[in-house]
Amino acid sequence: MNTVAAKVQQGGGAEGQAAEEWRRPDGRAADELRPLRLEVGVLENAEGSAYGEQGRGKILVAVYGPTEVHPRHMEHVDRLTMLCRYHMAPFSTEERRRPQPTRRDIELSKVIREALEAAVLTERFPRSMLKIFIEVLEAAGGTRCLGITLASLALANAGIPMRDLVVGCAAGKYKGRIVLDLSEEEDKEGEADMAVAIMPSLNRIVLLQMDGELTREEFFQALDLAIEGCRRIHKMQVEAIKRKLQEGLALTPPTEEKE
């Protein structure tokens, strides 16, 4: 009952007022991101790792390798074999999930791998394998995008050469408006959802998935909004790397001490 009342209010308010005063269920403006926190180098064992929180969402990513390829027949003689596993913890959602990978997990593992492969200089590591593990500890909408953002941080942390960082952000349509970074609720009730990942410096789109229904105009509005969101998150990615380098003290800049 409460939610219905809230919705009516929202709808009534939106009609009468200027667009910038319209607020989303969580109080955000249409082009506002949820609070986002990114951290680099959080695990001991992995060659590279990253942790992030976006709204309620919590994701941990680890990168192992490069190592030899297993299974052997997946070896590429001229490039890197990348393994990517996107997985949601059984306790990450309202109802317990079975720990076995779902069809969604399998699809997302594939599109995330492909998005990251666009950036990694795979030809530098023939006959080698790199493993990327993305564990969603708590789901809250937009996990594939945050997963990609974190995976690229973990890859940078592992020293894997890349053309660019990769950063993901979602956009969509909720109650007739194009909005940035959908929450779980907006995702469920919205009219359309679009996941985008880009290489921000090279200006390339490496992941694009959409469902729901959008006119051509709305489609590009959403795409441009998602790209704008990616650019903002990219700045936070760079800051997270710099924070990691400064960690363990040293406010002094690197100097000419070496040789």
Partner: protein, 265 residues
Amino acid sequence: MSQPSTPSERILVVPGDQLPVTAAKIDHETIFRENEQYYSTVVGLFEQRQNRANVVRLFGPYTPKVGDVVVGIIIDEVLLGWKVDINAARPALLPFTNVPSRSKLSIGDVIVAEVADYGVSRGVVLNMREKRARTGRRKTRRRQTKKTRTKGRRLGRVTRGFLVAIQPSKLPRLIGRGGSMISAIKRGLNRDIIVGENGYLVLRTESLRKRQIFERIIRIIEAQAHTTGLTERVIKLLSESLSSFSLEHSSGESATGRGSGGASR
């Protein structure tokens, strides 16, 4: 051209950052070119000197170079030789022909060898013979005299000591300018240290306590590699831990497991 070349300036960069490259020689491991623009592929410090541009990595694995002296662990025996873990993307091959006949090797042995040949697709070939490698290239000796750390270093099997790994990107800091840091540590511990350029180190001691101190120092160097005054701090720490060492030692403290080695990055 508009960018004045300031050879000593080092800029912190991340993958995808555009680099103001003016140098003619470019390190293609760390710099990538597209549409006449240069970008960093790694997190590191961009520098240009003597007409050469590169990014000194701050994160990352060991990238082999011909002539490197590395510490390796034998992990398998294959048709033509030994497979050796050298902390790189793939194991190296140590052909039987590059092993001195007196050396009896087996799986699990720790060895010191030289990178005789390296190709991105064929991988690393090692040599353990003191005199020039059979399968190697001609110029392998050149780098040997470059630094004190490898001078007079004997290739071969390591029969005693502790093996410790440092992040390869932090190795230059362990050496220090002109070898200052590593010599200080050797002096402080009064032990020899074999430094593999792949980041595997062997401290020649049987003292568990010295190993713990050494490992702690390594972790500190890793965490603080980009800071100034690190050598001084390490020397101070060494003398402190060694003095407390004699106390603890007399009070009969026994080291447990990996102990202080866990002092994290």
